[in-house]
Amino acid sequence: MKVSMEWIGELVDIKGVTPKEYADKMTMSGSKVEGIENPGDEIQNVVVGKILKIEKHPDADKLVVCQLDVGQDENLQIVTGAKNVYEGQLVPVALHKSKLPGGVEITKGKLRGVLSQGMMCSHEELGLGINDYEGANENGIMTVVDDVQPGTDIKKVLGLDKHIIEFEITPNRQDCLSVIGLARETAVTFDKPLKLPEVSVKGSGGNINDILSVEVKNTELCKRYTARVVKNVKIGPSPKWLVERLQGCGLRSINNIVDITNYILLEYGQPMHAFDISYLEGSKIIVRNAENNETITTLDGVDRKLDPSMLVICDAKKAVAVAGVMGGENSEIKDDTKTIVFETANFDGKSIRLTAKKLGMRTDASALYEKFLDPFMVKEASDRACQLVEMLGAGEVVDGIIDINNAEDKREWIEVNPDKINAFLGTDISEQFMVDTLKKLDFEVKDGKCLAPTYRQDIEFMADIAEEVVRIYGYDKIPSTLLRGETTPGGRDMLKNTEIKVKNILAGLGLYEIMTYSFISPKTLDMMNIPEDSALRKMTVISNPLGEENSVMRTTTIGSMLETLARNNNLRNESAKLFEIGKTYIPTTEDKLPDEHNKITIGMYGDKVDFFVLKGVIEELCEAACVKCMEYTANKENLTFHPGRCADVLINGKNAGIMGEIHPLVSKKYGFESKVYVAEIDFASFAAAVDTEKKFKPLPKFPAVTRDLAVIIDSGVPVSEIEKVIKESCGKILEKLQLFDVYKGKQIPDDKKSVAYALTMRSAEGTLTEEEITNAMNKIVKNIENKLGGKLR
């Protein structure tokens, strides 16, 4: 909502208040000021000049040379091509080094060899419309029609020397989308009386009921409908003060009648519409729901298809307006209009909102109606419009008003208990202040209760009263206190703590945390070569996505990681080691929420990474986070990964994720020529496996013994099998088992490999004897032979 301080100043005395002060105080009392505009800011150094003499240009037929009085000691010489100049004319003159809207700068210069010390301006060059100023002329220089001295700043003449305040009005305060509403807030904020316009209509005889009849068929969606008739209408330009008021609020002047309806829209926040009665067949207005396939051409020239959810204004035969949204072309007032009907009505906000949305045309009127306007202001607004008609001499108001009123007053008296209010706010505000404030805000107050004005539909509870009081008292004046009462334990639960721990460990291992979108493109799964029948393809779909690329909730985080790795690769970052803890969203049933699972996702590419670097990170993570029960089994089926370099990650024997080298066909699609490694591990499974019962183990008292063991075994036997046998055979004296060599080649049969381990053995009971060690080693070798067919090398 934009309004000039000067208009507000007509209703409340704010003399001496600077725009900045005004803005600050209004903001602090609840009417937030978004900005202060000085509309004339773009115009600088433009004054009124009087043309003293016009002579022909010596070298150009189409130019003339003018001498002007611009209120300075010396006259100015300006060359122009305009045809509508004459001696004695007052014109706007852009002086040397002046500025015009659109960043135009004017300096002196020569035109065909003759000095020109400035420029005479058209209305367009001053940023005005043809109706914005009486002296505007389609064909050239604007004439200053006001009686002003040469040298007067043009901004003063045009009413551009105003301060336009732009308010951001919250949706609960539809009443403040009006000059009167804001003036009321201003009056309370500055503690000054409010001077509202005195509304009265003289009338010119006749009886409206002889001319027009109104029938409201849907009283739910049209709570109130009033009509007034004005005859002998003289459509013409509006007076300067009216034009300036509209301009100040960002509206252009059209003609006196339209301007009056717009003025009421601004002053009261009440939309109005004017019909030409000669187009209303049967001299009748019917308010009803539109019929199936009914159409109307609205004022903007667009054919609109209506449906029965929409409310329309009709005459005896056809729709003439979409109620509360826009009038129809078929009943529009024109320059030759003689008799008009002023519609001032109250329509249901929800209905208007949906209609405007369906038709794709949100107008000033619909924007107001959708906030649920006060049906009780309708009549006064209508009267005010008629008063303006009479004031402007724009027509004769026929006596009487048609007022079909089905609005109910549903307000209730609310308790004003100062103790309760103070206890709720934590303040010590006096009862007197509370009562005075409410009264200034137009509340009725008596017997410890109050009744809000009809336009304050947002007032229901004690908390609402408390807000009215405290916003006027000042949020900045209430004290600050700290929470008291029963203490609460606070803190994070195990999952949250583990999440922080995992992030810290992974960062410590040299990985960078990333954050990616939760929604992905359905094509991501194609990129990842995920089969058509995979469960991952059943995704939660956003019905109104920004675009296909963000249209489904991810069921895997691997795609997001690949995309991020690819972006880094495309940016020519030589390597990247990344991780994310983020969710996947697995659909359940249609009317239920999807299951959200946090995933630890790790991804890397670059010179120094391979499968085992990735695995090393996971193992180190487990080590540091005390997760002991992780295992890996080869997965040759997953099409996203290299069939020979992919493992399922098992926690406590249950599948909890996957890791490995990305399949070359997939990584190629992401633009990689080098290898890419990714792991996705379910966070909840991981967190559940964290050993929280950490206990100290006494440091060993007896020395350890190290033995190396190399076996020759079938190539296909995974080392995890060998390790399992070694661990079982050796028992608890095995302290550490380290693989140090896997060899294939010379001296080893083609289908075999040599696997070498360093075993560290130690007993808690005493120094191990040679015999004990030999027994253990023999048992290992025997079991490897029997169970795995391996032989000591």
């Binding site: 903001t27 937030k32 919250t170 949706p171 609960n172 949906l354 959708e370 206890a423 706010l425 303040t427 509870f461 908390a463 609402d464 408390a466 807000e467 949020y475 209430i478 004290p479 206190t481 700290l482 929470l483 008291r484 009462g485 609460t488 334990p489 606070g490 803190g491 994070r492 639960d493 949250k496 810290n504 960062a507 410590g508 040299g510 990985l511 960078y512 945390e513 990333i514 954050m515 990616t516 979108y517 939760s518 929604f519 939660t540 956003i542 019905s543 109104n544 996505p545 920004l546 909730m553 972006r567 880094n568 970052n573 080691k577 990344l578 969203y585 249609e590 009317d591 929420l593 959200e596």
Partner: protein, 344 residues
């Protein structure tokens, strides 16, 4: 024999002195001198062996002299040996000199995402005040995201242009506020929680808009919780996050689920309120929305507003992070360029 011993002493001194001229293998040469004079077959030993031929009177005299010479030579050798060792160590140390200004050898450390860093810091402040950290679903029922927060169907705040819908009843949460409702439905006061997390708005991506961003919700419900408590708590938070000189300002606003409601501005940390580029000349930067929990919301969660009251607040995290690190483009947070991530 006396002359012989004196001559031996002289020779030893000369030979040891001559060693000093050697540049290399001084340790070996010294050892050779020791063997020559003091060894089993050395000069002094052979003199001592020949003592049998001496008279009983001469024997102790010569014996003493021999011991004196031997002791003198031994001391001289020891002293020289130390000198040589010291010189050699010094030489070695000099040879091992390095350029200490050369760079260190790294095992690279990674980083937490800047949003995580700030989010953890913010959360910790409230944990210190006894707030519990709770989570809620990101895909949420319309009921929790809107209706129970007193935002009925067809309220302008829920136009499709703001909200991502899955279907009529399920949305991507547009705020962390539904967690308030979930907590109040399950828990009885006293309640003190914060809930950081992802939220979604249907905004096209640009330098200041992202369809996904982070918020942190706070909620306190108990007997006798007041608006001045809200103000005090937020002031404390601002001071902990931005330093002791941080100032905040509450101004009236409207949210459907709080009454009274406030928007909270932070006095610009860059210019101290004078107005600059960062605060767009305002001197203040809006950081969060807050208010007293609306009685309808309390009632809807089965908490009697006549007995209990509460306050709630919600703040955007990205804005804080952008301010903290002077990041000027929101998109950088979700592009995850390692050159960006390395800077935090």
């Amino acid at each position: 024999m006396r002359e012989k011993l004196e001559q031996i002493g002289r020779m030893a001194r000369e030979e040891i002195a001559a060693l000093a001229q050697n540049k290399e293998s001084r340790a070996e040469a010294l050892e050779a001198v020791r063997v020559k004079f003091l060894g089993k077959k050395g000069e002094i030993t052979s003199v001592l062996r020949g003592m049998g031929a001496l008279s009983a009177e001469e024997r102790p005299v010569i014996g003493q002299l021999a011991n004196e010479v031997r002791s003198e030579v031994e001391k001289l050798i020891d002293k020289t040996k130390k000198e040589i060792e010291n010189a050699e160590l010094e030489y070695k140390l000099r040879a091992e000199e390095i350029d200490v200004t050369m760079p260190g050898k790294h095992s690279e450390a990674g980083r937490l995402h800047p949003i995580t860093q700030v989010l953890n810091e913010m959360t910790d402040i409230f944990v210190g005040l006894g707030f519990q950290v709770v989570d809620g679903p990101e895909v949420e029922y319309d009921l929790y995201n809107f209706e129970k927060l007193n935002i009925p169907k067809n309220h302008p705040a829920r136009d499709t242009q703001d909200t991502f819908y899955i279907n009529e009843n399920i949305v991507l949460r547009t705020q962390t506020s539904p967690v308030q409702v979930r907590v109040m439905e399950k828990t009885r006061p006293p309640i003190r929680i914060v809930s950081p997390g992802r939220v979604y708005r249907s905004d096209a991506v640009d330098a200041t808009h992202s369809p996904l961003f982070h918020q942190m919700e706070g909620l306190v419900v108990d007997k006798g919780v007041t608006m001045t408590d809200l103000k005090g708590t937020l002031e404390l938070f601002a001071k902990k996050l931005y330093g002791e000189n941080a100032r905040i300002k509450l101004r009236p606003h409207h949210f459907n689920f709080t009454e009274p409601s406030a928007e909270v501005d932070l006095c610009c940390f860059n210019c101290g309120g004078k107005g600059c580029r960062i605060c767009k000349g305002e001197g203040w930067i809006e950081i969060l929305g807050a208010g007293m929990v609306h009685p309808k919301v309390l009632k809807g969660c089965g908490i009697d507003p006549e007995v209990y009251s509460g306050f709630a607040f919600g703040m955007g995290i990205e804005r804080v992070v952008m301010g903290r690190f002077s990041v000027n483009d929101l998109r950088l947070f979700y592009e995850n360029d390692v050159r960006f991530l390395k800077q935090f």
